[in-house]
């Protein structure tokens, strides 16, 4: 059993009185890709947004239970959420480039965290664009607005931007759902290459993507964690009938 990066215990999340997630308990393994599958609207995104406390930005969210990361319960009141989000990167469903140049998009995070030296920033930009597989395409276009990029490039830019603040974990919320097959492949290849250094939690609604990438898999259904296990075991011999039905494409 590999080392645990995030330990979720009895996590219950409500939103405006409605229960979105109910007592989730699971260990997310370090430096692996954990895929969360399940029908849409069953709480997968909420689970991700709880792990980096992005859920705080929507009023009316309540949570109980604990999420242990780096030795602390990140749901605690005294947690520095900005520092937490620096360590736990997030990539959203639709690409969200910031209203600035390609260079500034990557430099945004490091600048926020106090990097001012131009040479350092430039080397961070190059490293992150390389990691996102964009450097060769974009090295001569760094001052162009990020909106000029194709949607697929924008999503890879967002991946590079997330890497720029040197996170330990990457949360990816259906990162390829808005992309064409070729761009999706790029992102998948990038994620596969990054799994050695980062703990990746990937929410996806395409089972084939989960099968291609996952080392570990979770099935969430109507706010409950139905089943979890290594990808091998999860996809080959699921134990719960609902998981089997979902994997067989009977619903979802």
């Amino acid at each position: 059993m590999p080392e645990t990066e995030i330990r979720i215990q009895n996590l219950t999340v409500g939103y405006e009185g409605r229960e979105i997630l109910s007592s989730i308990t699971v260990d997310i393994p370090k430096n692996q890709i954990t895929a969360i599958v399940g029908p849409s609207g069953c709480g997968k995104t909420t689970l991700l947004k709880t792990i980096n406390r992005l859920i705080d930005t929507s009023d009316g969210a309540t949570f109980s239970g604990s999420v242990q990361f780096g030795g602390v319960n990140i749901l605690g009141d005294h947690v520095d959420v900005n520092d937490l989000r620096k360590q736990i990167g997030f990539i959203s469903q639709t690409p969200t480039p910031l209203p600035m140049s390609i260079y500034e998009n990557i430099a945004y995070g490091p600048r926020i965290h106090g990097v001012q030296d131009k040479a350092t920033l430039s080397s961070i930009v190059e490293r992150c664009l390389r990691a996102a597989g964009l450097w060769d395409e974009l090295k001569s276009r760094l001052s162009e607005p990020a909106t000029r990029l194709s949607v697929g490039q924008q999503q890879r830019l967002c991946l590079g931007r997330a890497l720029a603040v040197e996170p330990r974990v990457l949360l990816c919320d259906e990162p390829t759902s808005a992309l064409d097959p070729i761009s999706s492949k790029h992102i998948e290849d990038q994620l596969a290459a990054l799994r050695k250094q980062y703990t990746i939690v990937l929410v996806t609604h395409t089972l084939r993507q989960a099968k291609r990438l996952a080392d570990y898999a979770l099935f969430v259904y109507f706010g409950s964690l139905i089943e979890h296990g290594t990808a091998d075991q999860f996809f080959r011999s699921p134990t719960d009938s609902r998981t089997r039905a979902y994997l067989d494409g009977i619903f979802g």
């Binding site: 980096n52 992005l54 930005t57 009023d59 900005n82 520092d83 937490l84 989000r85 620096k86 990167g89 997030f90 959203s92 639709t94 969200t96 480039p97 910031l98 209203p99 600035m100 140049s101 945004y108 995070g109 926020i112 965290h113 607005p145 990020a146 909106t147 967002c158 931007r161 997330a162 720029a164 603040v165």
Partner: protein
């Protein structure tokens, strides 16, 4: 729909044409470069440089003050207290203030001036006009900031940015063209408003020299010149009105050009 659009454009154009035709005989370089000769009320010669400069100082000063207050207020309403009761109350109050007649701002400004022992002056006018501009600017900015996609804020938060960093480095950048339009809207209103400067600024034939002296302004130049029984002086009122129109038009064009530049980076 075409008819109503035509009616609007036609109506506005006819204003410009009437002002231009009536004022054309008085339009001259001297209008722009000299001060009035013979008094603002009766003078048939000289120019209205005092009113042009006065108006620019008044509107510029008021806009600077209004801007300094509006940006933090609009950011507070959107980024910090967006759905609170206090924000709702503030928005309603501002909507109400938007429709308050400007003469009341003048009267209110006048009361403040009496309190602090200030006579009719450039500063008094700036205070009254900035009060007039505030609700316009804040509400316009508020709407602009509200239209910034939530995803951009989340993207910034996800990188570990604080609320303040997100507001100033991402939200404002995205909203920049709209914010500029809000400033322009308020500036145009201040340039053209006569009632709020009537009591607070006074009027004079000399060029503005100090914050504490009365200054002339274009809307009041129109007002006073139109009030005389002499056709030549009335003609000068139309010419002054035309100059005011041209100033507002050039500011509008300049800001449009600036907006296109800012638009380069905006996420659509």
């Amino acid at each position: 729909m075409e008819m109503s659009t035509l009616l609007v454009v036609g109506g506005l154009l006819s204003i410009v044409i009437v002002v231009l035709v009536k004022g054309a005989p008085s339009l001259s370089i001297a209008m722009l470069t000299q001060t009035s000769n013979g008094g603002y009320y009766l003078g048939k010669e000289g120019g209205i440089l005092n009113a042009i400069l006065g108006s620019l100082y008044l509107a510029g000063g008021a806009t600077a003050i209004a801007l300094a207050v509006s940006i933090p207020t609009a950011l507070y309403l959107n980024e910090y207290a967006s759905r609170s009761r206090f924000a709702g109350f503030t928005r309603n109050s501002l909507d109400l203030l938007w429709s308050v007649p400007s003469i009341l701002y003048g009267v209110f400004g006048f009361i403040i001036m009496i309190y602090i022992g200030l006579g009719t002056s450039l500063l008094g006018g700036i205070i009254a006009l900035s009060l007039l501009e505030l609700p316009i600017m804040i509400r316009a900015m508020d709407e602009v900031l509200r239209s910034v996609p939530q995803g951009l804020r989340e993207a910034s938060y996800s990188l570990g940015a604080t609320k303040l960093e997100t507001a100033t480095r991402t939200v404002v950048k995205q909203a920049l063209p709209g914010l500029l339009m809000a400033v322009l809207l308020a500036l145009g209103r201040a340039l053209g408003d006569a009632a709020s400067v009537l009591f607070t600024t006074g009027y004079t034939d000399s060029l503005p020299t100090s914050l504490f002296q009365p200054v002339a302004s274009l809307p009041l130049a129109v007002f006073f010149q139109l009030g005389t029984p002499f056709p030549e002086v009335q003609q000068r009122a139309y010419a002054s009105g035309f100059i005011l129109l041209v100033i507002i038009l050039s500011i509008s064009i300049a800001s449009r050009l600036l907006t296109t530049r800012f638009n380069r980076f905006v996420i659509k």
